[in-house]
């Protein structure tokens, strides 16, 4: 007797994708969890401890404290995006994505499973980087709810963006173009290392078009209580991007773009 399609069967399907993703991330921890922690530790040592001493204060606080939220956010963004592109494109390239495509799972469950896996990796890396940061600057927590919600929403937004990249990618080179030429510049110019209030008039206006500025600043507010932008505007922008990207992902998956003939 075949299985019945129900909310419970979808829940089992979602759990299966998530367990598979988490198992994969933990199995290759030396590739997925440790490198970003080492990179961020070097940032803390060089920009925080060595150069930071000469910079003095930024946004009314020691430079080391100022860069901690941005560097945590940087690792969350790159890991959520990178996880889903490599995992989903790998499944496409190896053809085992067909296991999911011929199954009864609807597109939104497949998407939810992969996004949850990417969020798991992003948050795990984020927490590890935070622990390393605590060694250099101690623990700070201004608002736990804002901190956690911004971290989670940012991870979801970049997982969705990475999913679109994976759908359109035809070769492995295609999944490194966006992170190198779009994501990295936007992140580095997104207020990780400096306050956008330091920029001259026009440059400041241009910087405020970058959505990552809002993510970094809202997260900085959660940890330290300071921000260059309105918190509610930041939430609105993140939720807006998340909704649009989710709709695009679902549309692409439902039409089978890059997946079905």
């Amino acid at each position: 007797m075949s299985v019945e399609v129900s909310a419970r069967s979808y829940w089992i399907g979602y759990q299966t994708i998530l367990i598979k993703e988490v198992t994969r991330i933990l199995r290759i921890w030396a590739q997925t969890l440790i490198p970003p922690v080492i990179t961020m530790s070097l940032y803390f040592v060089i920009f925080g401890a060595i150069i930071g001493r000469r910079v003095g204060e930024m946004g009314g606080m020691p430079y080391m404290d100022f860069i901690v939220p941005g560097l945590i956010m940087l690792s969350v963004i790159t890991n959520s995006y990178g996880n889903i592109t490599s995992s989903f494109f790998g499944a496409k390239f190896g053809k085992h994505v067909e296991e999911l495509l011929v199954s009864p799972l609807p597109p939104w469950i497949i998407l939810a499973g992969y996004v949850s896996g990417a969020v798991f990796r992003a948050l795990t890396v984020g927490v590890l980087v935070w622990l390393v940061a605590a060694v250099f600057s101690g623990f700070h927590m201004h608002n736990l709810l804002v901190t956690f919600s911004i971290l989670l929403l940012t991870a979801i937004v970049f997982s969705l963006a990475g999913f679109i990249n994976a759908i359109y990618a035809r070769k492995f080179d295609d999944i490194s173009i966006i992170p190198t030429f779009v994501l990295q510049p936007l992140t580095y110019l997104g207020g990780v290392f400096f306050s956008v209030s330091l920029l001259p008039g026009v440059a400041q206006q241009i910087a405020l078009v970058n959505p990552i500025v809002y993510m970094v600043n809202a997260f900085r507010y959660g940890l330290l209580g300071v921000s260059d932008v309105s918190l509610w505007l930041a939430y609105a922008i993140i939720l807006g991007f998340g909704t649009v990207l989710f709709a695009v992902c679902l549309n692409l998956l439902s039409r089978g773009v890059g997946l079905r003939s």
């Binding site: 299985v3 399907g13 759990q15 053809k95 089978g256 079905r260 003939s261």
Partner: protein, 308 residues
């Protein structure tokens, strides 16, 4: 109820290739059905549409009365697919591959583990259950595809050339397993290049060529259309000259083997009498295998001529 109903199914790919030109097909529940056709005939496109991997350009497909186009999820729950190419993650273990596949179909993990063990044992793969699947042989990978397709216990099992490149012993064990599944009530649709497999296993058959069904009947009915039979004759001594016989085609295969093709209505006694008169002594005789192959070639060639 029919396991599969296909109505006026058409598929034109973006590059303009018209893979299916309005196909109608019905497969009854419990059937062991063969879908045959030359490469590029449209078999894989048809299977792709049924399994929702390919979007149809027009027409309807339903599985046990459930529309693939309108109720994809419910329809897919009824199907188990063994694809032509190995498409599992070769860096995973067979046990995990099967348990995960069961999960995609909503089978709870505890039951999935029990079924994974059952099907891996049934297909003689249990000793490889926890090794990396990429280390398995080609035949083992093919059997793993079958175990994976069966783990959610579908009512319709579709096998797309499952025995390609598999040695005879493993092929037989695979067919024994599939026959058991069919006997237990699962409908089986098979595409294969080994036509004797279709002849021996399947009850009904459809031949597809250039995007059209050129024959859809029972294997028995189809074989009855074969009005010429070919016999292989083993001779006691090498034949020096092939005698000419009216209405019988004699072909020398090697010095002591002749192939005689004659209409079914023709008496074999007459053939032997004429051979005896020509001084040719026959020591044994057998039917030439691959009767279906002959018909297949005829059907496909006919389809090609019609299309031209």
């Amino acid at each position: 109820m029919n396991a599969l109903e296909v109505s006026q199914l058409k598929k034109t790919y973006k590059n303009g290739v018209e893979a299916l030109k309005g196909i109608d097909l019905t497969v009854a529940e419990g059937d062991f059905f063969a879908l045959l056709g030359p490469n590029g005939a449209g078999k894989s496109t048809l299977i792709g549409i049924v399994s929702s991997m390919v979007n149809a350009s027009a027409g309807e497909t339903s599985v046990f009365g459930i529309s693939v186009q309108k109720e994809r999820s419910r329809a897919m729950a009824e199907i188990g697919l063994v694809p032509q190419e190995v498409n599992f993650n070769q860096f995973e273990k067979p046990f995990d591959i099967i348990v995960n596949q069961a999960g995609y179909y909503g089978v709870p993990r505890r039951i999935a583990r029990e079924r994974a063990e059952y099907y891996l044992k049934k297909l003689s793969l249990w000793d490889k259950a926890f090794t990396m699947s990429r280390t398995m042989s080609g035949g083992m990978k093919r059997r793993l595809l079958i175990a994976r397709a069966m783990v959610h216990e579908p009512r319709l099992l579709i096998l797309d050339e499952p025995t390609a490149g598999v040695d005879i012993e493993i092929r037989r064990s695979m067919w024994k397993f599939i026959e058991e599944i069919n006997a237990a009530g699962t409908t089986v649709i098979l595409t294969t290049h080994y036509l004797e497999e279709a002849e021996n296993l399947c009850r009904n058959i459809a031949i597809i060529d250039q995007g059209r069904i050129v024959e859809d009947t029972s294997v028995k009915e189809l074989l009855s259309k074969l009005d010429i039979e070919t016999f292989v004759l083993d001779l006691r001594a090498p034949v020096e000259q092939v005698p000419s016989m009216d209405g019988i085609e004699l072909v020398v295969r090697d010095a002591t083997t002749l192939e005689a093709s004659l209409p079914k209505s023709r008496s074999l006694t007459r053939l032997f009498r004429q051979l005896d008169e020509a001084g040719i002594e026959v020591i044994s005789m057998r039917n030439k295998a691959n009767r279906l192959e002959e018909l297949f070639m005829r059907m496909v060639n006919l389809g090609g001529e019609k299309a031209a």
